[in-house]
């Protein structure tokens, strides 16, 4: 329902998953005004998860991951042009090609880009890659086809680990360098990090943890790398997988609360300005957004998750064309997945928001398990390895702030039910406060219930 039809012109900056789903939702909710999507990539919206998996394996061409469009959009697509600025008073988006695009309501969905290697000279060596766009994936896949002697992956987060997995599946020699104590440890903590390390090594990865790459060597072409422990390797490809940088520079002079950590918005996806005042007409969604989540003590979360991009875009779009009382909060429980080294890893909740972890189902030995994370006695996350079917159960525990450790009795409980420290490095400073639970199953019936601090 269109309550306040003053939004005749909606502009979406960012034409990837969040931008596309928001546009579709706007039309589905009956928005009939003009709709403009601005994207700096020349491709129509495409799916990124396959880029580090099927595309690198050569099973799917990099230009064949286009996202299905769920309805006719009747939109003005401005692809291949970057938004360079925002004039919130004049309500215009300024494009790098000199044009400006007026709006009544704006959605910021500019996402992230790959964090570049910090030394531009080394980054410019032939053979040094990042992986974020389909162009990146096409170039890297082509070089993997050519049969390099060794691939160096710098950073063992999800993307880096998936790249290493694809290389090993192709039979390529791989070295992975990770500054932390184990792969995935930053996202999943110590217990699963250890499992990931074991599996990488079992799959023939030369995994080096606790080291950094101090130099990429080469003369025009990459030839090798030096490590902080004094060792060096020969390598003809290096993939920089050091995480993502949020695309907010174009908002530097907009007066919005936008910076390296994202565009801060409220639970209804409305952006804050630099004074912390919520704007009426500017919304944010997807990887670039930073929003408070009641389940996690209202900490501002930025989630680089496929599912979050979809869910948040739908909430943002709904709220852009709905009057105040009909607006919805973005209360989705965070979730993501990864596939690597024969493992299917799925997560619900926020594993880093934890102090303890317990293996509630299955076993580390079989690499088939569910790890449940808790913080100060309540369940805050669960991660499954090759066993995703009961994750809905744990999501419900998270939503209802169920006590941690979870009640025993799982049919396939194998390991000790005694929780151990979750060993998330650099734990956030978590403050003690009231616990919040979610109720309701339908988006328009979801509410939070506050239980006073115990």
């Amino acid at each position: 329902m269109l309550g306040e039809p003053r939004a005749d012109r909606i502009v979406i900056v960012g034409a990837s998953l969040a931008g596309l789903r928001a546009a579709e939702t706007l039309r589905a909710e009956g928005f009939t005004g003009s709709l403009t999507l601005i994207g700096d990539e020349t491709h129509p919206p495409y799916d990124r998860p396959p880029l580090s998996k099927q595309v690198l394996l050569g099973k799917v061409a990099a230009d064949r991951t286009g996202l299905p469009q769920r309805r006719r959009l009747d939109a003005d697509w401005r692809l291949g042009v970057r938004a360079g600025g925002l004039d919130p008073v004049g309500k215009r988006v300024l494009l790098d090609d000199g044009a400006d695009v007026p709006f009544d309501r704006l959605l910021i969905a500019t996402g992230t880009r790959a964090r570049p290697w910090p030394h531009p000279d080394e980054a410019a060596l032939d053979g040094v890659f990042t992986l974020r766009t389909s162009g990146d994936a096409a170039a890297l896949a082509a070089r993997l086809d050519a049969g390099p002697r060794r691939v160096l992956v710098i950073g063992a987060g999800f993307t880096g680990s998936e790249i290493a997995s694809a290389c090993r599946e192709r039979g390529l020699e791989v070295t992975v360098a990770e500054r932390g104590p184990a792969p995935l440890v930053g996202a999943l903590g110590g217990t699963l990090g250890e499992l990931a390390a074991k599996l990488q090594r079992a799959h023939g990865v030369d995994l080096r943890c606790g080291v950094t790459v101090t130099a990429l060597e080469g003369d025009g072409r990459l030839t090798g790398a030096q490590f902080s422990d004094g060792t060096r390797i020969d390598a003809d490809i290096a993939v920089i997988a050091l995480g993502a940088v949020r695309n907010t520079e174009w908002l530097a002079e907009s007066g919005l609360a936008a910076g390296p950590r994202g565009v801060t918005c409220d639970a209804g996806c409305r952006a804050f300005d630099m004074y912390g005042i919520v704007t009426d007409d500017i919304f944010a969604a997807g990887d670039v957004a930073r929003f408070p989540h009641p389940l996690f003590e209202y900490q501002l979360l930025s989630l680089e998750h496929w599912g979050n991009a979809v869910a948040q875009a739908e909430v943002a779009a709904h709220n852009m064309v709905s009057p105040g009382p009909r607006r919805r909060p973005h209360l989705t429980v965070p979730a993501f997945w990864s596939s690597q080294f024969g493992l299917n890893i799925k997560s619900v909740g926020v594993p880093t928001f934890s102090d303890q972890v317990v293996i509630a189902q299955g076993s580390l030995k079989d690499a088939r398990l569910v790890a449940v994370y808790g913080y100060r006695g309540r369940v805050t996350a669960a991660v499954s390895v090759n066993q995703a079917r009961s994750l809905d159960y744990y999501r419900h525990l998270i939503e209802t702030a169920a006590p941690f450790p979870p009640a025993p009795g799982a049919a396939d409980q194998r390991e000790s039910p005694v929780p151990v420290p979750s060993d998330v490095p650099d734990p956030k400073l978590l403050s003690h406060g009231p616990t919040v639970a979610l109720t309701g199953h339908l988006p328009d019936r979801r509410l939070t219930v506050v239980q006073p601090a115990r």
């Binding site: 299955g362 419900h396 009795g409 049919a411 396939d412 199953h441």
Partner: protein, 403 residues
């Protein structure tokens, strides 16, 4: 209260044609404890939660008071439908190797033409008949032929395994009648006979691969090894029964529903591309598996404010959840183009229907061809005569005339 318990009324054959008012009553009651200590759950969100709850066992031996259907038969072990992880996962995974992804992703898709041919042959044989029994003439022979080819069972043995199958289905009928023990004993006996029959078929293929699933069970090994002969038997029985007893009802319930909703039938003729959505709606509206009668909590669990004690029989009424207005708008309306239709027709969670892709494909093709074949079909008897089972619910015969 002298009146029968709700579960007695649901399973009462007199209510087979239309159990839906009873399901509505069940949803109103919340979690319904029966006099025998079992618990019924009929609301969508609670059923969905229980289907994903790792503390809910499918192994009847976990019940505090084991029942006769608990597979006390020494000899043939339970199949994976009656086991929990990790054993369930191991056996299901080995059976899946020759059926679906990731190892055999094209098996079902590759049967499209085959199924279409079987359907057309069946329909060609009916061309002269003025009056058709949808069950005997069509909905039964189709899945039987398909599952026989898939497993590698000679179709001419159908009369033999039909008898066993009937007895096995009657054996797990949870209707609280006067003497369930005899039914259960006969079911157990039939299961053993069918197991030996299938085990023998499989053994004859050992070393002589023939492309079917029984052959794969004895010839192909994955990282977890091979099914043992006993596991092959148990799995074969499960797949043979599940492969036809359910799909026959889905197709028949489907045709019955379409004949009761002429607008929907006309729309599907005009827009055949809607058939996949229509089949999902049938799985919601008239699911061939009405309930899962064999769950048991492994701990005291709370459901909708009520505690179900560890070891109690727990019955999940899928068909009631499918009509829950808290989940589906206009839940009692048949809408062949319904969106957001995450029904419970195939269950959910670890035991989510193994053969779902095959059932979908068979039913989509069957109904598509059947409504093309019949110009002006009409129901001769409504409601039709139903089969006994309240679990696998469907008409015994469905007589239709050509107009």
């Amino acid at each position: 209260m002298a009146a029968d318990t709700l579960f007695q009324r649901i399973t009462d054959y007199a209510n087979r044609a239309d159990p839906y008012p009873l399901y509505a009553e069940l949803r109103e009651n919340g979690v319904a404890r029966q006099d025998d200590g079992s618990y019924l759950v009929g609301t969508y969100h609670e059923i969905a939660a229980l289907l994903h709850d790792p503390r809910i066992s499918s192994d009847r031996r976990q019940r505090t008071v084991p029942d006769g259907a608990a597979g006390t038969d020494e000899g043939v072990p339970p199949s994976f439908i009656g086991l929990d992880d990790p054993e369930h996962h191991r056996l299901r995974g080995m059976a899946m190797r020759s059926f679906g992804p990731p190892h055999t992703p094209d098996r079902i898709d590759g049967m499209h033409e085959d199924i279409t041919r079987i359907v057309r042959d069946l329909l060609a044989g009916l061309a002269d008949k003025e009056r058709i029994d949808v069950v005997d003439d069509f909905a039964y022979p189709l899945p039987v032929t398909v599952i026989c080819r898939l497993l590698g069972v000679p179709a001419e043995d159908e009369p033999r395994f039909r008898e066993w199958s009937d007895a096995i289905v009657a054996g797990f009928d949870p209707t609280p009648d006067e003497d369930p023990a005899e039914r259960q004993r006969a079911g157990t006996e039939a299961r053993k006979t069918m197991a030996l029959y299938l085990g023998d078929l499989a053994e004859r293929r050992r070393g002589h691969p023939s492309g079917d699933m029984l052959s794969a069970f004895v010839n192909d090994a994955g990282p977890e090894g091979q099914l043992t002969p006993l596991e092959t038997m148990a799995t074969g029985v499960l797949l043979l029964i599940a492969g036809h007893e359910t799909t026959v009802n889905l197709i028949t319930n489907g045709m019955l529903t379409l004949l009761r909703h002429p607008d929907a039938l006309a729309r599907l003729r005009r827009e055949p591309e809607l058939m996949p959505l229509a089949v999902e709606e049938l799985l919601r509206f008239e699911p061939p598996v009405q309930m899962l009668p064999q769950r048991t909590p492994l701990a005291d669990i709370e459901v909708a404010g009520r505690t179900i004690p560890k070891g109690s029989p727990l019955i999940l009424m899928l068909a009631a959840g499918n009509r829950d207005p808290q989940r589906f708008a206009d839940a009692d309306r048949f809408d062949p183009a319904r969106e957001d239709n995450q029904h419970l027709g195939f269950g959910s969670g670890v035991h989510s229907c193994f053969g779902a892709p095959l059932a979908r494909l068979e039913t989509q093709i069957a109904l598509h061809e059947l409504i093309r074949h019949l110009d002006t079909p009409r129901l001769i008897e409504d409601p039709p005569e139903y089969r006994r089972s309240p679990v696998l619910r469907g008409p015994r015969h469905l007589l239709i005339g050509r107009g």
